[in-house]
């Protein structure tokens, strides 16, 4: 059950999307998100859907995996759709109905926005290994070092957090089984009882997380880790022609969205 969590999952592959430099992928995601919020009208949203579908097709990530990632967000999506559907002023779709034409349009647009936003983000994490991702992040944030931001430390923490998600999930599973074997009940009872029932999981989980963190720190120190200064990388990142093309296409998409918005096609 807990193993279904897909956060931070990576599907290895050898497609143009996988081969892109992580830096360009992060930049492209930002461009994608800005473009998504600039989008207006059917043409704009249609183009965004098309672009997302195209990227998914090129990266050979099956839509099923994307939808699996959407599942936890379902409640938010439904809630947004309902709110926009019923609370937008305008001309009623049918006389006497609370649903307006504008409401319907806006709720479809909002749902599309959320779905595409998540799909785009998943496309990045599915096709980029956590290592490459944090590497790219570090390089992109590098200029901020000048104003005293500990960029290396932040990205190191990020990659460790990502690395330990599956470990913690496994650990939680194990502790849950052990407490269930002692008759713990996580499924019945009212809210308070259920919250209390989590204690036998949370306490051991915290204890073992601290132990793990301690062990990791000792292991890193014994290998002479001392922060970011003077560190070199095993894998150097290189921009290729592919990256230039991809970034150019991203800029084109953004330009198209701005034009569509201003000329209201």
């Amino acid at each position: 059950m807990l193993k279904d969590i897909t956060l931070g999952q990576f599907f290895p592959g050898d497609t143009p999307v996988h081969r892109l430099d992580p830096r360009s992928k992060i930049l492209l995601l930002i461009v994608f998100i800005v473009a998504l919020f600039m989008a207006s009208g059917w043409a704009g949203y249609g183009l965004m859907v098309l672009v997302t579908a195209l990227c998914m097709a090129i990266s050979r990530i099956s839509p099923r995996n994307i939808f699996k990632g959407l599942k936890p967000m379902l409640l938010i999506i439904v809630f947004t759709a309902a709110l926009n559907l019923f609370y937008t002023q305008g001309t009623p779709l049918f006389p006497g109905w609370p649903i307006t034409r504008e409401g319907l349009e806006r709720s479809v647009a909002m749902v599309l926005r959320i779905v595409l936003l998540i799909a785009g983000t998943f496309l990045l994490t599915y096709t980029t290994s956590p290592m490459a991702l944090t590497d790219g992040m570090e390089r992109l944030l590098n200029p901020l070092k000048k104003i005293g931001l500990p960029v290396h430390e932040i990205t190191m923490m990020m990659s460790m957090a990502l690395r330990f998600i599956p470990t913690l999930i496994e650990e939680t599973d194990k502790i849950m089984s052990a407490q269930k074997a002692r008759g713990a009940d996580f499924e019945n009872g009212n809210l308070l009882q259920r919250a209390k029932a989590l204690l036998p999981i949370l306490v051991p989980l915290f204890v073992s997380s601290f132990r793990r963190a301690d062990e990791l720190a000792v292991a890193m120190e014994s290998r002479c880790y001392h922060g970011g200064s003077g560190r070199t990388r095993m894998k150097q990142l290189h921009f290729q022609a592919l990256d230039l093309w991809a970034l150019a296409l991203g800029a084109l998409l953004l330009a198209a969205m701005i034009l569509l918005r201003h000329f209201g096609l």
Partner: protein
């Protein structure tokens, strides 16, 4: 005291996905009440999956598990009730300790069974005695104890439920020799006094040879060998082929036989080795 029957048990993880994996396949066996059983098998042979079926933590993909003749997977109620009959001690059980005091932690299981206060207290004292945890420790935090003490408190937490079948997954892993000996003695004394069936997963062949009445060897999710220690250790070549060890006495006897010393019989304890050596006139 409970007897256990497993019928054509199969478990498939993540069925219907690309990660599908058959962990155990078509296992049928019967363990009579009071037997001391050792489960052997290398990592990933399906032992852990198997034992988690015996108290309904995992649902079989197909097949049945019967405790005292009753199918434990009938409904939610039986799946819950079986946990009071079949006690399962996981690997490194000390990582599941969570209460503020040793007493409260041992009492967690009996409390979940819905027992009265006096009954709980009696059971906690009894369980603590079995595993050699002194009553002075009752008000201490379990997190302050030493590794071996923590392990014993965790085992007491399961014993306090008075299970008719006690299953332990590598109870001695990571302990020093004295700690190992003590834990095994505790388990034996619980078995002697309660008459419970005990199933122990172990990688230590000498312990398995010395303590158990029956050995079940798992390989690739099926039962590769099943018999008394004498029967199983009389086929040491097969055990080694599966990737397991044999007891020290057995491997020494094998080496001596290879050198041409005709030792007779199945040898898996030091006493047997000594007897066989005497028979051929050495020592």
């Amino acid at each position: 005291m409970s007897d256990l029957r497993v019928e054509a048990l199969t478990h498939v993880y993540s069925a219907g996905t690309p990660f599908e994996k058959t962990a155990i396949q078509d296992i049928s066996l019967q363990i009579p009440s009071g037997q001391f059983v050792g489960l052997l098998g290398h990592t990933g042979s399906g032992k852990s999956t198997f034992i988690q079926h015996l108290n309904a933590l995992l649902k079989p993909s197909s097949g049945k598990v019967l405790v005292d003749g009753e199918d434990i997977n009938q409904d939610k109620k039986t799946r819950r009730a079986v946990k009071n009959k079949v006690g399962l001690v996981f690997q490194y059980p000390e990582y599941q300790l969570f209460e503020e005091t040793v007493f409260a932690d041992i009492a967690f299981g009996p409390k979940n069974m819905g027992l009265g206060k006096e009954e709980i207290e009696q059971r906690v004292r009894e369980a603590a005695r079995f595993v050699g945890v002194e009553e002075e420790l009752f008000q201490r935090s379990p997190l302050e104890l030493s590794g071996g003490q923590k392990r014993r408190v965790a085992i007491a937490g399961v014993i306090a439920m008075r299970p008719g079948i006690l299953i332990l997954d590598e109870p001695t892993a990571g302990l020093d020799p004295a700690g190992c000996r003590q834990i095994l003695e505790n388990i034996c004394s619980y078995r002697r006094e309660s008459g419970a069936t005990v199933i122990i997963v172990s990688h230590n062949m000498d312990d398995a040879a010395r303590l158990t009445e029956r050995l079940i060897v798992f390989n690739h999710g099926t039962v590769a060998m099943d018999g008394t220690p004498e029967q199983v250790f009389s086929r040491p070549e097969e055990l080694i082929k599966i990737g397991l060890n044999v007891p020290q006495a057995t491997s020494l006897a094998m080496a001596l036989r290879e050198k041409g010393i005709p030792l007779r019989g199945s040898i898996y304890t030091h006493a047997q080795l000594m007897a066989a050596l005497k028979e051929v006139g050495i020592c």
